[in-house]
Symmetry: C2
Subunit: 308 residues, 2 copies
């Protein structure tokens, strides 16, 4: 194994080199890679998705799995599940794909009273859920890094979040894969009938401006490749460009055999903290200079298929 | 116009409210939007691309325009132009599309000596150009924001850059759309025969680990929608998945009538600084809370089609 990568890591690493310690030893023990951390993880480092808290967005070519965030957007989560259960989204379409920003889906006839999809038991709009009170019952694994957009950032139950101890508030942040409820200008004009997912560099300017309600944990590559719309803001200007949705389902309503089997690394574990360090300072042989820093939206939250 | 958005901006804005000043006045004068800034820009705020410094990546469905960065990667720029001029890329393919990371193109047979594309006058590999000395002749419009990955960030000749005054070095940073020269483990194993473009959240851990040599200024939506590869790191595992390239051309070698007409907002202008502020604190009516911060990779660098 080449030693090159270690020559540039600086004094911290140099100090750890003992005469009889090879670079390989250090790679495998002091500075494990993400792959090594996951290989050595314990079963208790992982959790399964709760079927009642998981949405499947079913496309003609596959399934997008979304974990909901009831700690942060309880009313929106209730409403999106109600919409899914009344089959509101069945046959609606992808409406918008704006490069380096969002893919959005909903009712292409939402503005046409005579044509728009009728809502049965769900609500058309809801009060905004942009942030919530900090509460000891809501976990927060703080990232040591300073963040430009918020006083503190970290992870809560598998979601990237920010906190402001002064105001006592915390909120979900707009990282790649986060799912939110589109709205018009009034802040209470969303509710989940139109949903978007982030497919580009984190648009953190949206934090606390839109209600985030979940995160894509599998299948985002089905959405991120959608042809970009050529109308303003990436909307599709021709009806034939709008890819139809098969529908959205609450995982609990899908027969167990047809559910997506998936485990997610818990973000409240030492394993996750070790993983963050392995990504903050990449010490795989390929890397020449470790960054010494990681953006909250650059921390991967690994998933795996359960072995049994 | 609703006043709601202003209620949350805080004391700074409140102090600016005079009794006879309406919200609309403030929107249009003190805090212009990006659209307003561009509408009021002067011809001298814009520049055209230098044809000798511009590469066209020609796909079967369109053209990707890449501006080269000779101030930062002079040898790589010379070599990529030489490769384009000897038609090295003609008929080669997209090799890799990894979600939230990169799309990469080059020779699918690069590892097969008998099949690989022969290089004529260009060089197969080059010394790394990961950073360069700070020099008064290389512009630097500093962003006031703190950046986690580097002591200073800003813009130089239309490119997002970082600087370290202590070491006297500066370098291009891995924002969405940046183009680099893929390499194997040795740092001098790249050279431009395999190129990648960033299509996800800025992987800043790559800064100073790979040679960046340019930026996509038009057409990235042709690359960002490439179906993601299912082999490790997003490589395409089946030959039929590899989308062929028509080729790469130096714009100067393309008849003037066939060149892409494009102007780019200069990053060394007061207009660009005003634009940054308009994006740091979004005050369009839709926004509820302005962020008060902007990441270097969230600053748009506007382009336009010249009117004559």
């Amino acid at each position: 194994m080449a030693h090159k990568v270690f020559l540039f890591v600086g004094l911290l690493i140099a100090a750890l080199f003992a005469e009889n310690t090879s670079a390989a030893d250090i790679t495998n023990t002091n500075f494990p890679t993400m792959a090594e951390i996951l290989a050595k993880s314990k079963p208790s480092d992982w959790r399964t998705l709760e079927p009642e808290n998981t949405i499947y967005l079913e496309l003609t070519n596959g399934r997008v799995v979304i974990e909901l965030a009831p700690d942060f957007a309880p009313q929106h989560v209730v409403n999106v599940k109600a919409l899914a259960r009344e089959k509101y989204f069945d046959g609606l379409t992808i409406l918008r794909a704006q490069d380096n920003y969002v893919v959005q889906w909903g009712d292409p006839n939402a503005e046409k009273p005579e044509l728009k999809r009728k809502i049965k038991t769900a609500r058309a709009t809801l009060a905004a859920e942009f942030d919530r009170m900090i509460d000891k019952d809501v976990p927060f694994a703080r990232l040591q890094e300073q963040d430009g957009y918020a006083p503190e950032v970290g992870f809560s139950g598998g979601f990237p979040v920010a906190r402001d101890p002064k105001s006592g508030r915390m909120w979900l942040v707009h990282c790649y894969g986060m799912v939110g409820a589109g709205r018009d200008t009034p802040i209470d004009s969303g509710g989940g009938t139109e949903l978007y997912v982030i497919i580009g560099h984190a648009p953190r300017q949206l934090d606390r401006n839109v209600t985030l309600l979940g995160r894509v944990v599998q299948g985002i590559e089905l959405l991120s490749v959608m042809p970009r719309g050529t109308a303003a803001m990436g909307f599709y200007d021709k009806p034939e460009q709008r890819i139809p949705l098969k529908g959205m389902r609450v995982a609990a309503d899908v027969p167990a055999a047809e559910r997506t089997r998936l485990e997610i690394l818990r973000t409240d574990t030492p394993a996750f903290q070790t993983l963050i360090e392995s990504r903050r300072n990449r010490r795989e042989e390929w890397f020449h200079v470790p960054a010494g820093h990681i953006d909250v939206c650059n921390v991967p939250i690994p998933t795996r298929v359960p072995t049994k």
